[in-house]
C-alpha cells in the first residue's frame, strides 16, 4: 500500500503527516523548527512514519509546504501552505469555506469555493501582530507559560480592551493595564480579542468558517471567541496544527491520482 506524506515547515513548528491512499491520517508529528529546516522536516517525518507504523519506502510521494518548503530534500514537490491549508479544510468540510489559519508568524485567510478551488487569499502584511509570535511575546512579558493562556482566557470574568496594532506597543499597553490593576485573565482575554481583530481586518468572511494552525490547536477558547465575534459556527479539523501537513499530503495523493 503506497502512502503519502506532507511536511509543513513553519516559522515556529514543523509538522508531518502520513496518510493512507484514502486520505486517512495514519501518523502525525509536531516539532520545533529550530534553525535546520531540512533536519526538522526529516525528524518530523520519521516520527509521523513511526506513529503510522510505516517506512519511508512505503511513501509514494512527499509534498512539503511552509516557509522551509524548499529546504526539504525528502520532498518530491512543494506547495504553498496556503494551498495545503485549503486542501485540508475542504477535505474535512467539503463546502464553500473561509479558512483562517493562525500560524507562528503568518495569518492567512483563504476562500475556497464549493468545488474545493481557492478563489482568493490574504496573508498578514509584514507585521506579525495577531500571529502566534504575538501571543508568545505577550506570554513572555506576562511571565506566563503558553499553555496557561487558554485556561486563563476562558476563566476571565472581564476583558481588558487593547487598542494598539503593534506588538511592542501592545506590550506597553498591557503594562499600563497591569498598573491599573487589571486581572491577568482579563488581559489574556484581551490579547485573544486582539488576535481576532487583527485576523478579521485582513479580509471579509464568506461561507462556513474553518480555523487551522497551532495557535488554534493550543487555544480552543480562541475558536469559541471567534464564533461569538462572527455570530456563526467556527469549525476546526481534527488536529488543527497538522492541517498544513495533512493538506500537503492530500495534494500529493491528488497529484498521484492525476498522474495515473
Amino acid at each position: 500500500m503506497k502512502l503519502a506524506a506532507g511536511i509543513d515547515i513553519g516559522a515556529a513548528a514543523t509538522k508531518a503527516a502520513v496518510l493512507d491512499p484514502l486520505g486517512r491520517l495514519l501518523g502525525g508529528a509536531v516539532l520545533r523548527t529550530g534553525v535546520d529546516f531540512g533536519l526538522a522536516g526529516a525528524r518530523a517525518l520519521d516520527e509521523a512514519l513511526a506513529q503510522a507504523e510505516a517506512r519511508s519506502e512505503d511513501l509514494a510521494a512527499v509534498f512539503a509546504c511552509g516557509y522551509g518548503r524548499k529546504n526539504v530534500s525528502l520532498a518530491t514537490e512543494t506547495r504553498t501552505e496556503i494551498a495545503a491549508h485549503a486542501a485540508a479544510a475542504y477535505h474535512f468540510f467539503p463546502r464553500a469555506l473561509t479558512v483562517i489559519d493562525i500560524g507562528g508568524q503568518d495569518n492567512k485567510i483563504i476562500k475556497v469555493n464549493d468545488q474545493g478551488q481557492r478563489t482568493d487569499f490574504k496573508m498578514n502584511r509584514k507585521c506579525a501582530a495577531g500571529t502566534g509570535a504575538f501571543l508568545e511575546e505577550m506570554a513572555l512579558r506576562l511571565d506566563l507559560p503558553l499553555e496557561r493562556l487558554n485556561s486563563l482566557a476562558r476563566e476571565a470574568e472581564d476583558e481588558a480592551r487593547l487598542g494598539a496594532f503593534c506588538t511592542v506597543f501592545t506590550a506597553t499597553e498591557v503594562l499600563g493595564k497591569i498598573r491599573e490593576g487589571a486581572p491577568l485573565s482579563a488581559l489574556v482575554k484581551g490579547l485573544f480579542r486582539s488576535v481576532i481583530k487583527r485576523v478579521l481586518e485582513m479580509d471579509s468572511i464568506a461561507g462556513a468558517v474553518v480555523m487551522t494552525g497551532g495557535v488554534v490547536a493550543h487555544n480552543p477558547y480562541l475558536v469559541e471567541m471567534m464564533a461569538q465575534e462572527l455570530e456563526r459556527e467556527v469549525l476546526t479539523p481534527p488536529q488543527p496544527q497538522l492541517a498544513g501537513a495533512i493538506g500537503a499530503a492530500l495534494l500529493a495523493l491528488r497529484s498521484r491520482e492525476q498522474a495515473r
Binding site: 516557509y67 496556503i82 503568518d106 496573508m123 509584514k126
Partner: protein, 411 residues
C-alpha cells in the same frame, strides 16, 4: 523547465544610449553648457529640449538606486535629515545618496555625482513629493525651481484643465530663457513634440506586442527597455532605438520565442516595480509559467495626445490624460480594457508603502475588479525602493500561492 529565451540583443544598444545620456549630462554639468535642467518623469521635457537644455530625470536615478539596491543603504541618511520613511522612497533614496556623496552612476559610468541642476522643473501630476524633492536641491544649489501644479483625480480631461496647464507651461518660459540663454522657439518645440510622439507611438507598439500569446516580452523586460522612452523622449535616438527593438521583437515573434517559456498564465502588474527585486520576481513567476504581459507603470510613457501642430495644448493634454492623474472610475475602465485585450486572468497590485499615488489597491479596487472581471487579484505589500518594507519570503509565498490558485481555477 523549458529553456530560457535568448537575451534581447537590442539591450546592448540601449546600454550605449544610456551611457551616452549620463556622460553627456556629466560633461554638460562640468563645462556649464548646455545648461542642465532637472525634470520630473512626466514633466515638460519637450519644452526643456526645445530650449536647449540637457535634461536629467531624478526619478530615473531613483530607480537606479533601487535596482542596484543602494537605496536601502542610503534612505536612512535622508530619514535622519528629516525626510520621513513614509514619503516617496525615490526622494529619500536620492536625497540620502546625495547627502552621503554616492551614486550608482559611479560604478556604471565612472561619474562622480549627479549633474548639478541649473534649473529644476517639476510636474506634480505624479505626486506632491516631486516638488519637495526638487526643492531640496533648489535650496542646496540656490537654483531656480519652476513647475506645473497639476490637477488630479480627473474623470474627463476638459479644456479648462488643459488651458490651466498651458498657462503654467508658458509661465516657465522666461525663467527657462534666462537660465538657458536661448529664446523660446515654437518650431523647436514642435520638433521635440513630434519626436516624443514618434517615440511614444513605437513604445506603445512594443507594449502591445505582449498581447500576443505567448508574449515576446514581459513587464520585467519592459521596465528595462522603457529607459529610452523615459530619458530620451523628444530626441531622435529614442525613436531609432524602438525601431531596432521592434524589428528584433518581430523576429522573435516569427520564431515563436516566448518571454516565459511554456507560458500558461497571463498577468497584469498594477503599481510601481519593486526595483531591487525585479530578478527575483521575474524568476519566480517564470517558474510558475506566469507572464506579466501588461502594466500600468510601463504604459505611463504612452502619450497619445502629442501633436506638433498644437504643441502646448497637446503636451498639457498628454500629461493630464495619464492614468495616475485620473479618478478611480477611469482607472478601472483602463485596466479592464488592457486585461481584456491582453487575455489577462490575474492582476497583481503592488502596494508600495511609500507611493500612495501608485498604489491603487487602497480603496478596494482589487475587490471591484475581481467582481466585475471575474479574475484573480493579489495585493503584494512592498515598496519601489525601500527593501526594509519588502519581505522576500512573504512575497514568494504570496506569488507562488497566487499562481497555484490560477492553476487550480484554470484546471
Amino acid at each position: 523547465m523549458p529553456e530560457a529565451p535568448p537575451p534581447i540583443k537590442a539591450t546592448k544598444k540601449m546600454k550605449e544610449l544610456m551611457a551616452g545620456h549620463f556622460l553627456g549630462l556629466d560633461q554638460a554639468a562640468r563645462e556649464g553648457r548646455p545648461k542642465v535642467a532637472w525634470c520630473t518623469s512626466v514633466g515638460p521635457a519637450e519644452l526643456l529640449h526645445a530650449m536647449g537644455f540637457a535634461v536629467y530625470y531624478p526619478e530615473n536615478h531613483g530607480a537606479l538606486l533601487g535596482a542596484t539596491r543602494m537605496a536601502t543603504e542610503v534612505i536612512p541618511t535622508a530619514n535622519a535629515a528629516g525626510y520621513s520613511p513614509d514619503i516617496c522612497s525615490y526622494l529619500t533614496a536620492d536625497v540620502g545618496a546625495f547627502l552621503k556623496g554616492v551614486t550608482p552612476l559611479t560604478q556604471a559610468y565612472g561619474i562622480a555625482s549627479v549633474p548639478k541642476a541649473d534649473v529644476l522643473v517639476f510636474n506634480t501630476n505624479q505626486c506632491r513629493d516631486v516638488e519637495d524633492w526638487f526643492a531640496f536641491y533648489a535650496r542646496h544649489w540656490n537654483a531656480p525651481i519652476v513647475g506645473v501644479r497639476s490637477h488630479r483625480g480627473l474623470g474627463a480631461v476638459q479644456d479648462h484643465h488643459v488651458a490651466d496647464i498651458v498657462a503654467q507651461f508658458k509661465d516657465m518660459i522666461p525663467t527657462l530663457e534666462r537660465v538657458s540663454g536661448n529664446k523660446f522657439d515654437i518650431d523647436r518645440l514642435r520638433e521635440t513634440v513630434r519626436l516624443s510622439k514618434e517615440c511614444t507611438l513605437r513604445w506603445r507598439r512594443v507594449l502591445e506586442l505582449a498581447a500576443r500569446t505567448p508574449s515576446p516580452m514581459t513587464f520585467f523586460d519592459h521596465t528595462i527597455h522603457m529607459a529610452p522612452a523615459v530619458v530620451l523622449r523628444g530626441l531622435p535616438e529614442a525613436v531609432e532605438y524602438y525601431d531596432l527593438l521592434l524589428a528584433e521583437m518581430d523576429q522573435r515573434i516569427a520564431q515563436g520565442i516566448a518571454a516565459v517559456p511554456g507560458e500558461r498564465h497571463r498577468l497584469y502588474w498594477e503599481g510601481m516595480p519593486v526595483w531591487g527585486r525585479l530578478r527575483m520576481l521575474s524568476d519566480l513567476l517564470s517558474e510558475g509559467r506566469a507572464a506579466v504581459v501588461a502594466s500600468t507603470y510601463c504604459n505611463s510613457w504612452i502619450f497619445d495626445a502629442f501633436d506638433e501642430r498644437d504643441p502646448f495644448d497637446s503636451m498639457a493634454r498628454a500629461y493630464l490624460e495619464l492614468f495616475i492623474v485620473r479618478d478611480d472610475e477611469y482607472k478601472e475602465r483602463y485596466i479592464h480594457q488592457w486585461v481584456e485585450r491582453f487575455g489577462v486572468k490575474g492582476v497583481i497590485f503592488h502596494d508600495a508603502k511609500t507611493c500612495p499615488n501608485n498604489s491603487n489597491n487602497r480603496y478596494a479596487m482589487p475587490q471591484r475588479l475581481a467582481r466585475s472581471l471575474g479574475l484573480s487579484t493579489l495585493v503584494l505589500n512592498g515598496d519601489l525602493n525601500d527593501l526594509r518594507l519588502f519581505s522576500d519570503e512573504q512575497a514568494k509565498t504570496n506569488l507562488e500561492a497566487f499562481v497555484e490558485q490560477m492553476e487550480e481555477l484554470a484546471a
